[in-house]
Amino acid sequence: MSRPQSLLPLSREPSTRLLPWIIGVMVYLAVLIFAAALLLANIAANWDREMSAGFTVQIPPAAGDAPEALEARVAAVVKTLKEAAGVGEVAVVSPEVTALALEPWLGPNIEAHDLPLPRVVEVHFADRATVDMAALIAKLEEAAPGTVVDNHEFWRNQIVSLVGGLETLATVAIALIGFTAMAAVIFTTRSSVAIQRDVIEVLHLIGATDDYVAHEFQRQAFWISLSGSASGTVLAVATLYLLGQLAGNLDTALMPDLSLGAWQSVLLWAVPLLACLIATMTARRTVLAALRRMP
């Protein structure tokens, strides 16, 4: 008795009581998917930044080469690199480090296998724009024939298309979630209007405008979707936090940085607000369309 009764209660039928839950679940999923897409984009951007910071040069040992010959070729490569414009740090990776890096694939006693390991030189750009890659590759080939330059083009292209595909998938998933939630709002509002047709008719005869009637529904749709999306968001943020904790326990070397930038967090918070707005406007448009069919 204390709270004034709503004029056109939306929540009297069972289908309406489900609405906050439906919206809650939808917002939960949408926030998680959106967060995943943002994190993925961050990881991809990080990798891309690391990969485009430089390139590696591999100098494979020629068959029957003496170790000194290989060292000479490495020296020639390093000299060529240092003379090239735009190239910064040049570091020769020692054979031990190369072996260590290959250990997961080749096992601990590489020496014993007597595999001829290529020498690796890691190069950082000082000024990427002034580097003429094609000319540099030609010069390196001249200095040490058989030299392979890997500027990570292949991996970068792979990652770009993978991330692009996953982002499209996320967009489609979020759109589907949005449409499903809208359908739930439309269905509930329509049945609510149909059930309360008598009251709406009386309101019209008393002089209520369609806008007045729509406002009654719209206000409730707003509060219902606000409660639904607030709980959905709280759960989603809790889930993300737990996942972050779990990730924190993992080897940090393997785990990329799992955090969102400031504007990304703002975008994430916009999801529940957008859900409220869409639910409210959907309810309004549904009611107005239904009312126009009434006398």
Binding site: M1, P4, Q5, L7, P9, D198, V199, E201, V202, L203, H204, L205, I206, G207, A208, T209, Y212, R292, P295
Partner: protein
Amino acid sequence: MVRFENVGMRYGAGPEVLSDVTFALKPGSFHFVTGPSGAGKSSLLKLMYLAHRPSRGFVTLFDRDVTRVPRGDLPELRRRIGVVFQDFRLVQHLSAFDNVALPMRVAGSREEVIRKHVTELLTWVGLKDHLHARPPTLSGGQQQRVAIARAVIAHPKLLLADEPTGNVDDTIAVRLLYLFEELNRMGTTVVIATHNRSIISRFSHPIMRLREGGLVEIKQSAAE
């Protein structure tokens, strides 16, 4: 105030329930509409409270041809009309107070003005102790008084009542009619549909008699 010219009305694709009805009501007049059950009294009122449009002819209300007003102009016209529906049509889940407050809320009145006027009116019709009661907990006569209060709360220029004395005994019916006369004296045009001859005969207001969808006569009073 109200003008009908050769008005015909039908429900959907059904037969005409009103045919060639022509009359004019002056502002400030008080009329009974009578006739046997099924004659078309309620249908005539529905045309006047803009719940239906005529299928032919012209209906003029407040100097506007309502057969042609756009849907968006109806609310403003309807706010000048108070209606006591035959079956009351109270909103069952709202209190008596909120039911009576509806026309003022719809018109955008301020809440403190609403509280004052609604409380006054409900007190005046003897429902001071039932402000917060919902219609299902009220007797037929009490619900009727809520319905009447809702019809008059916004000072309508035209008051239409469909069998407002149907649920009460003649003594109460006469008292309700005194209330309508009171409003009429303050300038409201009143039209009351009833088949209760004994009530009509106690008042000296003009009578419109319907039979089978036609307006058969307008007598200046029952006494004639």
